[in-house]
């Protein structure tokens, strides 16, 4: 009797060996690996298994850059254009961040493009003189609050009345389009390009002003030290306490990557892109500003209860409900934060363009935002994605937008190209999801 049981036990154990092989693919390599070599091998297996992380995006970016560089005969990678590209990408990045808040829940916000337009309109109108002539910061806060309230309204409709977010925010798109037309009135334009009026000038300088080159290096040094210090104290602290920590080689690699990327950006931005008479150099202010917002949202989503609940709801709403999480509240806040972030990209738009008009194409911008998020690796099906992925996704969209514009490609082809990229990203998302799903099906 005991023998039989033992035999049964052994076969069952053998069966168990299989799921753990699959688990190696599904589990992030940094938590299972003990050395950098192990990490790289585990990572290689994941890429081969369809869970490729950021690699395809980086590859796509390189291909796009090389292709445009050849096509535009060296214009694309010129310092002047690269700075333009950064600025445009910042705009798509923030839109992508806005979408990630709701995509993580498995929802979507189609109104973001016109929420952006309305925010730009509000901030622009509030600093007009003659007119309200509000201080610039109050104009920004007002625009952000209005955007947040708008998002919260969509969130309430979605979470309390259980309306599909697709329809609610599609209606929101139309409503905000109308609101934009109303507030911009008959003139249909508002400009903030006055150099005498301080409040307009500050807004204008957000994107168009530059950090003095020397100061740029100082800022980078400080940021690098901060990043290195935080990463090292976290990873090594966990290691010392005997908790799960990434291999130390990986920690070093992460820091090296951050510093290298920072040096590249500052070096490119510090090249004089004006003329020999009028020097124009330095990192645009918008870069560190977006970094700060990114950091805030990373902390919010990765290190707070709210963030954890967003992921839980996106992964398994039933589990979240049974854990006592107030789903409606979390969903509403996520929509509100998406609204605030869209409003923030509205401020960037206003600054970038030196004003705003009824020509803002919010319908197109929101799709760029969704595309940036999905290209970065955020899933449309909820629960998977990181806010930082909007950075890579935004760069890809920015590069396509910039390159095609530079080449003088007509707008219809820009639309088609962006659409194709979006379809490609969704395809990758769906295929990788199918891959993981069939994987987990064998595991249960």
């Amino acid at each position: 009797m005991a023998q039989v049981e033992d035999e049964v036990g052994r076969t069952a154990l053998d069966e168990e060996a299989e799921p753990s092989a699959a688990a190696e693919i599904a589990a992030p390599p940094e938590i299972l690996a003990e050395s950098l070599g192990q990490y790289l091998r585990a990572w290689g297996r994941r890429v081969a298994g369809g869970e490729s992380g950021a690699l395809p995006v980086v590859l796509a970016l390189v291909i796009i850059a090389v292709a445009f560089e050849i096509w535009t005969q060296g214009l694309f990678l010129s310092p002047q254009n690269l700075v333009n590209l950064f600025i445009q990408s910042m705009f798509f990045m923030t839109l992508g961040m806005a979408e990630i808040f709701v995509l993580l829940l498995g929802e979507i916000d189609l109104s973001a493009g016109y929420v952006l337009a309305v925010a730009a309109g509000i901030a622009g109108l509030l600093v007009q003189k003659p007119g309200p002539d509000w201080p610039w910061w109050l104009a920004i806060i007002t625009a952000l609050v209005c955007s947040g309230v708008t998002g919260a309204i969509w969130g309430l409709l979605v979470s309390r009345l259980h309306l599909p977010s697709f329809v609610v925010t599609l209606a929101g798109l139309l409503i905000m389009w109308g609101v934009m037309l109303v507030i911009l009135g008959n003139a249909g334009v508002v400009s903030i390009s006055s150099r005498i009026l301080v409040n307009q000038h500050v807004l204008y300088q957000i994107v168009n002003g530059n950090i003095p080159p020397a100061a740029g290096w100082v800022v980078l040094a400080v940021l690098s030290l901060l990043f290195a210090g935080l990463t090292i104290s976290r990873d090594f602290g966990r290691r010392r306490k005997g908790l799960v920590a990434p291999p130390s080689g990986l920690t070093v690699l992460k820091i090296a990557f951050f510093v290298a990327a920072g040096i590249a950006v500052v070096a490119v931005c510090n090249v004089n892109r004006g003329s020999s008479l009028v020097v124009l150099a330095g990192v645009p202010w918008v870069v560190p500003i977006v970094l700060v917002v990114l950091l805030l949202w990373v902390v919010l989503l990765q290190r707070t209860r709210f963030g954890r609940y967003v992921y839980a709801i996106g992964g398994n709403p039933d589990a979240a409900r049974r854990a006592g999480i107030r789903l409606a509240t979390v969903r509403t806040w996520a929509f509100a934060l998406a609204g605030v972030t869209a409003g923030f990209s509205g401020i960037l738009y206003l600054s970038w363009q030196g004003g705003t008009s009824t020509n803002v194409n919010g319908g197109q911008y929101v799709l760029y935002g969704v595309a940036a998020a999905v290209i970065g690796g955020t899933s449309l099906f909820g629960g998977r994605g990181k806010i930082a992925q909007a950075v890579l996704g935004g760069l890809v969209i920015g590069a396509i937008y910039n390159g095609l514009y530079l080449q003088g490609v007509q707008v219809q082809w820009q639309l088609i190209a962006t659409g194709l990229v979006l379809v490609g990203a969704v395809l990758v998302d769906t295929l990788s999801r199918r891959g993981t799903l069939s994987g987990s099906a064998t595991r249960i």
Partner: protein, 269 residues
């Protein structure tokens, strides 16, 4: 955060001592005449049930007998239409999972209710995260989760930071059970803990159930596998079409009689 459960403090002079529980064992939870219907479907019909501490009570019944509904009524997910629930002799209204947790009732659901995209620690602390100055205290949560798994002798997971999606069925079950017992809980309800598990993993879960009982917790197990049930149960209760048709010490039952109760609602022995 959690509102106190109304009625928890009021004493219940009429609460009768449980008939079928051996003297000495404290009765944690009593259901008295609980009805529950969904539209035209009467899922529970006047159910009485006692769940004592330090004993494993098996709840048997065919598909659709109402076992899961009964579990969800205790967990506060459904509100009974009629009847009352007594906790240690006092009537309570369990309005949701938080109320249940406040009393010390934890449920491991049939579908486990784990978020696949979160890791083991994140799942075990879901809804009850430890925070320090507004930020999640991951280190302290990770240590506590590791301790709990060690106490329950769950040693097969490679890293407690791997996403639950990457775990085998038995490991997922172990995580779900560990999640339930982390909270100083007094009564744990397990809905189909061994469904879809292999021989070894089933044995692991049954051992886990015994460990819980030996720690003094009350346990209610739902299972279709009567061999498993008879192995671990101290008491057995049978539901048939929403009615409780039998309840008593496990020694009063054998495989044959349990099957008869489950399928016909009565036994001729």
């Amino acid at each position: 955060m959690t509102s106190p459960v109304p009625g928890q403090e009021s004493s219940a002079p009429g609460a009768a001592p449980a008939a079928s529980v051996s003297p000495g064992a404290q009765t944690l939870l009593q259901l008295r005449g609980v009805d529950k219907h969904f539209g035209a479907v009467q899922a529970l019909y006047h159910v009485d049930l006692d769940l004592p501490a330090a004993q494993v009570t098996a709840l048997c019944g065919d598909n659709g007998a109402g076992k899961s509904v009964l579990t969800r009524c205790i967990a506060g997910i459904h509100q009974p239409d009629r009847g009352e629930i007594l906790w240690k002799g006092h009537p309570v209204h369990i309005r949701g999972p938080r109320d249940a947790a406040e009393l010390g009732i934890e449920v491991v659901y049939q579908d486990l209710a784990l978020a696949d995209n979160l890791d083991i620690v994140q799942n075990m602390f879901l809804g009850r995260e430890r925070v320090h100055r507004g930020l999640l205290n991951e280190d302290s949560m990770e240590r506590a989760a590791a301790d709990t798994l060690r106490n329950l002798k769950v040693t097969t997971v490679r890293s407690i930071r791997q996403p639950v999606a990457s775990l085998s069925g038995g490991q997922r079950q172990a995580v779900a059970v560990a999640k339930a017992v982390m909270w100083n809980s007094k009564l744990v309800l397990l809905d189909e803990p061994t469904a879809a598990l292999g021989v070894v993993q089933t044995r692991m879960v049954l051992d886990l159930v015994r460990t819980l009982r030996d720690h003094g917790l009350g346990v209610m197990v739902i299972s279709h596998n009567l061999n498993d049930v008879l192995q671990v149960a101290d008491r057995i209760a049978v539901l048939h079409l929403g009615r409780k048709v039998a309840e008593g010490p496990a020694t009063d039952f054998d495989l044959q009689s349990v099957v008869e109760y489950m399928t016909t609602g009565s036994s001729h022995r």
